[in-house]
């Protein structure tokens, strides 16, 4: 029974998905299906909160770990899922016959993501990765403009498949060398394994699938295109929920490989990560400068942010990991706010060019204010979490003495100011275009969600103590495992 309680969040979300499937078969209306899914995701969030303090292993020992770290990440995933579902209530940009399936796939993918955060065994990890990806592949195709949908899905799917194949390939290396797929056993064998170059090659290949989800440099190509051509709520899901799990896995992998005193060769991994981070930041920011589409711009900004996160990841320290967990929570809220605005503005549009935001302050002061907070967060201006989070990330890297890297990151965030401010310029300083002057009135639910997200962004920015402590405890729990 205790075991069931440990996997309560995943179970709740999965059962909700099954229930939604049942509703689909019964032919309930869009609204009803959505309501069931929403209730399910709320229950999932509740289940996460219940299990927040629990520690244990529900299956065979070593296969699936439930601790504060995983449960915190699951809570974040569940909360983000709730927020995404808020936006997924019959979005006009999707094929209308797919409206009903949308919540179902979102729930399933989230279940997969949740499992990723807990998996401590390579095959489980891989399957969870696939479980989280399949539903999304299906969802992108369901754009009402069939060509756009196919384009986005093809790009996402092909690259996702390649990345996960590479992951599997890397896993086979590690299995071949260590004879086990259990992370705990790999960690124990690390002193011997660490001296073999092949192990590090395998580890890097293994990380590919997760770097892909995070949209870090060599696996970043999909992000702008897929954000651009998938239905807005789906893009929101990809940009927010699925990043969390990828970050969780990266944290866990690096904690296994990098923290260990015995792994002298961890330096190799670090150098690779540094190079990737620099490339991702520079490329993301420079490419974002010239973007005309809002979602595409957010795609490039996501690449840059992946770089910022890796800046702290390469420090291989508990400070760095804590900073990452902290920043992830904030990043999720900020990105969601921006996508929420994109969803609302692009309610009847296939794409959301930046020019569509023109005069937002007239059309909906509420959305304009949200956009302001979200964009300030992404820019890294106080008093938002974007600022303090970046401060933590940079602190972690500087503690480690990575002076040049942080300088590059800082200069990059100065470059980023231009395109973020350009968005605000359009939203605040320009008059609305002739064809869309209508007042935008988001539904009360969206308004509530937006208020919660804005509150999180500001709260974490002004009084980060509470979140920081939780993140720090979670990382202690993570570190205690290996």
């Amino acid at each position: 029974m205790a075991n069931v309680l440990l996997i309560l969040p995943e179970l709740t979300i999965f059962l909700a998905a099954i229930l939604v499937f049942k509703c689909l078969i019964l032919g309930l209306s869009v609204l009803h299906v959505w309501r069931v899914a929403f209730a399910g995701s709320l229950l999932g969030l509740g289940a996460c909160l219940i299990t927040l303090g629990m520690t244990g292993e529900p299956f065979h020992p070593g296969i699936y770990r439930v601790d504060l770290f995983s449960q915190l990440m699951k809570t974040v995933i569940a909360a983000a899922l709730v927020l995404v579902l808020v936006l997924s209530d019959s979005p006009p940009v999707m094929r209308r016959d797919a409206w009903r399936e949308l919540p179902f796939f979102l729930l399933l993918s989230s279940a997969g993501l949740m499992m990723m955060t807990s998996a401590t065994e390579l095959i489980t990890l891989y399957l969870a990765l696939e479980l989280s990806a399949f539903p999304v592949y299906a969802l992108i195709v369901l754009h009402r403009d069939r060509r756009m949908g196919s384009e986005g899905a093809t790009k996402y799917m092909l690259q996702g498949m390649v990345a996960s194949a590479v992951t599997l390939y890397g896993m086979s290396f590690i299995f071949g060398l260590s004879g086990t797929t259990y992370l705990s056993e790999i960690a124990a064998a690390l002193p011997e394994l660490g001296s073999q170059p092949l192990f590090w090659v395998g580890l890097l290949l293994l990380l590919a699938g997760f770097l892909f989800k995070l949209a870090l440099f060599p696996f970043h190509f999909w992000a702008p295109d897929t954000y651009f051509s998938s239905p807005h709520p789906v893009a929101t899901f990809i940009a927010t929920v699925s990043k969390v799990a990828a970050i969780a896995v990266l944290c866990r992998m690096v904690a296994v490989a990098g923290w260990n005193e015995a792994s002298i060769d961890g330096e190799t991994l670090r150098i690779v990560l540094i190079v990737l981070a620099v490339a991702a930041m520079t490329l993301g920011n420079l490419a974002a400068l010239v973007q005309k589409d809002f979602k595409r711009l957010l795609g490039y900004s996501a690449i840059a942010h992946a770089g910022y996160i890796v800046v702290a990841l390469q420090a291989f320290s508990s400070l760095g990991h804590t900073a990452i967990v902290f920043y992830t929570i904030g990043y999720l809220a900020m990105t969601w706010i921006c996508f929420m605005v994109a969803c609302e503005v692009g309610r009847n549009r296939d794409t959301v060019p930046v020019s569509a935001l023109a005069g937002l302050w007239q059309r909906s002061p509420m959305l304009a204010l949200c956009l302001l907070i979200g964009i300030f967060g992404l820019t890294g201006l106080p008093p938002t979490v974007g600022f303090i989070g970046k401060w933590f990330l940079f602190s972690a890297a500087l503690e480690d003495g990575q002076f040049l890297l942080v300088l590059i990151a800082a200069l990059n965030s100065a470059v980023a100011v231009y395109y973020y401010m350009r968005v605000l310029r359009v939203a605040y300083l320009l008059e609305p275009a002739k064809e869309d002057t209508g007042i935008l009135a988001p539904s009360p639910l969206v308004v509530t969600g937006a208020m919660v997200a804005c509150l999180v962004v500001l709260w974490m920015g002004v009084a980060p103590n509470y979140f920081w402590e939780i993140a720090a405890e979670a990382i202690v729990a993570l570190g205690a495992t290996y």
Partner: protein, 186 residues
């Protein structure tokens, strides 16, 4: 010696895989895929992973490929176009390939029987000798103890894939527009 066998087999696998990619005719592509699967199965066999090898043959080469062919034939059965240059002398190539295949197999059998040792099989073999349990039972035991989570996950994954495929393949009319019935929207 064993290495040579491996490389030859890998070469064949890659050739078939390329065939899958570059054939314009779908049926021919599918047949190439059968080749890939079969070659992989032989690989497994040489590595003494009999279980995997048989599963490979039964599931992939047998069931899945038949399904593939069904779908292809239902969708667009076309007359093959003009033969590409490398397939002009199909008989010659076919004969050559089967010869290569035959010799490889022969070599494999020889290596297997003479030396009795194949790379990669050592651990497994030792384990079997020790426990005395047949591989299948061993596998299934592992599947519900040590690897129970992946086992469960796989089943969920298959479910998702099936539903995803259904949703993606749902009604379209000629122009690629979706067909919406009124009661569905309300």
């Amino acid at each position: 010696m064993a290495l040579v066998i491996y490389y030859v087999l890998f070469g064949i696998t890659v050739l078939f895989a390329l065939g899958v990619l570059f054939n314009r005719n779908t049926v021919r592509s599918a047949i190439c895929l059968v080749g890939v699967m079969a070659a992989l199965a032989v690989n497994y066999l040489i590595m003494r992973q009999e279980f995997v090898a048989f599963i490979q043959i039964v599931v992939y080469t047998g069931a899945i490929m038949v399904l593939f062919l069904f779908v292809i034939m239902l969708l667009n059965l076309r007359e093959p176009e003009v033969m590409p240059w490398y397939l002009r002398k199909a008989r010659f190539w076919g004969g050559a390939l089967s010869l290569v295949f035959f010799f490889t197999l022969a070599l494999a059998v020889q290596v297997w029987t003479v030396s009795g040792v194949t790379p990669g099989a050592i651990e497994n073999e030792a384990f079997i000798k020790e426990s005395g349990t047949p591989e299948v039972i061993l596998l299934s035991t592992l599947m519900i103890t040590k690897y129970v989570a992946p086992f469960i996950l796989t089943s969920i994954l298959l479910l998702v894939a099936v539903i995803g495929a259904i949703v993606m393949a749902k009604r379209y009319d000629e122009d690629g527009q979706e067909i919406i019935s009124e009661e569905e929207v309300s």
